[in-house]
Amino acid sequence: MTRTRRRKLLSSLFVAFCGSAVVVALTPLAFVLFFVVSQGARAVNLEFFTHMPTPVGEAGGGMANAIVGTLILTSLAAMIAVPIGVISGVYMSEYAGTRFAALVRFAADTLNGVPSIVIGLFAYAVVVVPFKQFSALAGGFALGTMMIPIIARTTEELLLLVPGSMREGALALGATRARAVFSVVLPAALPGIMTGIVLALARIAGETAPLLFTAFNNRFFNIRLTQPLSSLTVQVFTYATGPYEDWHRQAWAGALVLVTIVFACSLAARFATRRLERMHGRA
């Protein structure tokens, strides 16, 4: 009798532990979001979006150049990563059983696990050293490299979800494999792939480490790709570790903008996947 009671007690304690683990993990999330929103909301204003940074030590100013910079860098990254990622994904799903597909999959997973700072070093070696200059291109290259494996794996997974009957139907009508993929299978998975790309972009936009010595930073407005370029993340880093009160204020504002971007993208992606799942009748 006591033994049963002890076992039941242990069981309830375990359930309580698991429940509290969720609370313990979500507490920092709540704290981070609370501070980012409360500090950021106080700091963010129109000037933040439309003005350039003021000279060092002077209050006011904004991050207009950094916001444009982040947009340029993520676009460059997408231009590199979307074609390579999607086509690699097509290969992995079309020739799923082959040894080469397994190798590509392994490489993509490996690349996904490479620390972002190491990707930065790689981009430095490949783009910055030959051109002897920090540049937007180097930053875009670094971010693109990080994005490739995410898009490749998402594309692969989504293509495998497309019912085999669709591909078979296309092939039965006499389509070549390329035709079947590009006109039937890929369009069927396209909404999901777009969602994956949006999520990957959101993640990339929040990266700092690979930009530190590739795109570097720039206090001035710049759209030339061969020049150093500022970004929201690097700017937040500079301001957060700097000595001025007003810099800290702007760092919080930058963080709020970043978190808003990430949050909006995840939420949008989530609703999109939900709808997709319902459309495809997945339980």
């Binding site: 359930v15 190798l103 696990g113 490949v126 480490a209």
Partner: protein, 316 residues
Amino acid sequence: MTERSRDLTFRIGTGAVALVVVLIVFAIGVELTRQSLPSIQKFGFSFWRTEIWDPVAGEFGALPFIWGTLYSSVLALLISTPIALGIAVFISELCPAVLRQPLVFLTELLAAIPSIVYGLWGIFVLVPAVRAIETSMPDSLRQLPLFTGPPLGLGMLSAALILSVMVIPFTSSVSREVLRSVPIAQREGAYALGATRFEAIRAALYYARTGIIGAIMLGFGRALGETMAVTMVIGNNPRISTSLFAPQYTMAAVIANEFTEAADQLYLAALVETGLVLFVITLMVNSLSRLLIWSMTRSLAPLQEAAAAPAGGAAA
């Protein structure tokens, strides 16, 4: 015949693009080795055994960074593993179905918050809080080697705490997948024998142990390479210490902080070599972790299909 060759063209064309992914991984290894040659030639293995990091004198020993990286990651793992497993069990086994998707979403949001935002929060919120804990610690405890040094707030403890928060979502989502691949019959069998919830879940966890170790290692790989948040709170002091309060340094952090300031070739090469080793270590940890997870889910895949388990959808 022509159709055949067109299909072959398609295969070769897409395969060539896919090859790029493989080549990038090789290129990272080759380029980092090439750029770190001056340092490799000058210091050889002593680079990894000496503690002196003196850019002015041109002496570089990376041991403090290796220590800091391993120590902070292991501490983060000690904190995050029980919590992450608790979450995985709660979400996959215990919680009501309505709560499941929102909880998955929230824990994944932990992974979506940019590292720099964690760092900013760390500097202005976590570090002062840790400093307050450190100053309020009784003197008797401060004698222990774990708690020596001035209470700065910036240091190993803050880094380990922030890392553990960042690692939790990775470990918990993979453990959840792994737990889901344990056949339902296995749990039903345990319940049928009169097991309590804890006993049934313990059996499932034991059954899934390979995959769960893989999930923990995946988190370890993330912790090793995490850069910005750690750089901002660990104190950046290249000195080996067992104290949680001591400011220390990690491999990723030293690269982030010093790379743009490195003036001479040898200094740059030493930093790149640090990155090379970080690359190799994370490569090994991640490969091993994938192997474990893969062997676990693969061996169960046929059972899974037979049970026709519902395919839930975590967003990408």
